[in-house]
Symmetry: C2
Subunit: 217 residues, 2 copies
Amino acid sequence: MDLYEALYTTRAMRRVKPDPLPDDVVADMLDAAVRAPSGGNNQNWRFLVVTRPEVKAELGPLYRRSFEELQRTVYRRSWERAKETGDEAALRVMRSSAWLAENFEQVPMWLFAFSRNDPSGASIYPAVWNAMLAARGRGVGTCLTTILGIFAHDETCEILGVPTDRGWRLAAAVSAGYPLGRWGVAARRPVEEVSYADRWGEPLPFSVDGPRWRPDA
Amino acid sequence: MDLYEALYTTRAMRRVKPDPLPDDVVADMLDAAVRAPSGGNNQNWRFLVVTRPEVKAELGPLYRRSFEELQRTVYRRSWERAKETGDEAALRVMRSSAWLAENFEQVPMWLFAFSRNDPSGASIYPAVWNAMLAARGRGVGTCLTTILGIFAHDETCEILGVPTDRGWRLAAAVSAGYPLGRWGVAARRPVEEVSYADRWGEPLPFSVDGPRWRPDA
């Protein structure tokens, strides 16, 4: 797959089929993850591939409880506003996020990523994102979630046997499976609205005219 | 460029030529950045392209002071050990990091990334990494640095006019330019040493045998 096609179409793909992923797809994801840079090349990361039904059955209720807490707190106002104004893009995110929570156990693979001595996240999220891009290259949809780490960190780590006393922290849980929907370029605020030249607020001296990759190009 | 070639060969490329980057390369980097996922699709990011010599001249001394502080603190022991044991891979990282600090003003472009309401970093580093992968696709070398944010956050933001009072934080400064060296697959600890299946410590049920992409494959 072309690099730019992957960069432009690796969007959150939450609705996936229960079919298991072949080992070589998971191997591609993990091997791409470890190619990422990390501060001082310390590679202070661990990856945990969860596929066993018993383990997913323990984590699912925690994920749903975390999702409910997210809805009640961080996203309460924005989601209420989306319902009131009928913001279809935001409502789609809400519905597919709810689908993922309800179907946690049916997602064939969850990739958990852990880091240590990485307060900014700069040394783990490039690796996580590499795994997601590599999955896209094999036709596998993923979604990066952080709610288990935010709302149920210690319980999740206990279930998974993580030695938190040695500094390991859960950074992400990535769902992975063959998509039910279609790939496409996600709509985003254009570069011109979020980018500056040399000082905050100064416009770029050129036009970007995105998206610069399109399916039919 | 093939996706996997980019994932495997986008390594820290600190030594670069002073030649400026064409606008369309910078546009590719920025437009790839905004395709990344972010929590709730909030896109709470801003990107600042620094190319003007006056701005780099203000930032360079801060970067070098931050680099010296990094050497004195976080990396002191590991770099001393590298010198004692003659660990060539670690010494190469040390030397090229020092080159980047000494040549801050000669790097043609620095891409600054800012985020807000993103304590984990999960909503900014995929975007930063997308910009770096897109650069790789155009033959441009990059390096993700965080030391200005760690050791000189407020001074850097003041120079760049960042409204920190509205919650914006510097997440990364990425150097970018045409490489002096060659592209290649970075050596990493193999997947088998950093990955588990279902519970921490349980080995993967398959072999990964990385690197799974090679230049001559």
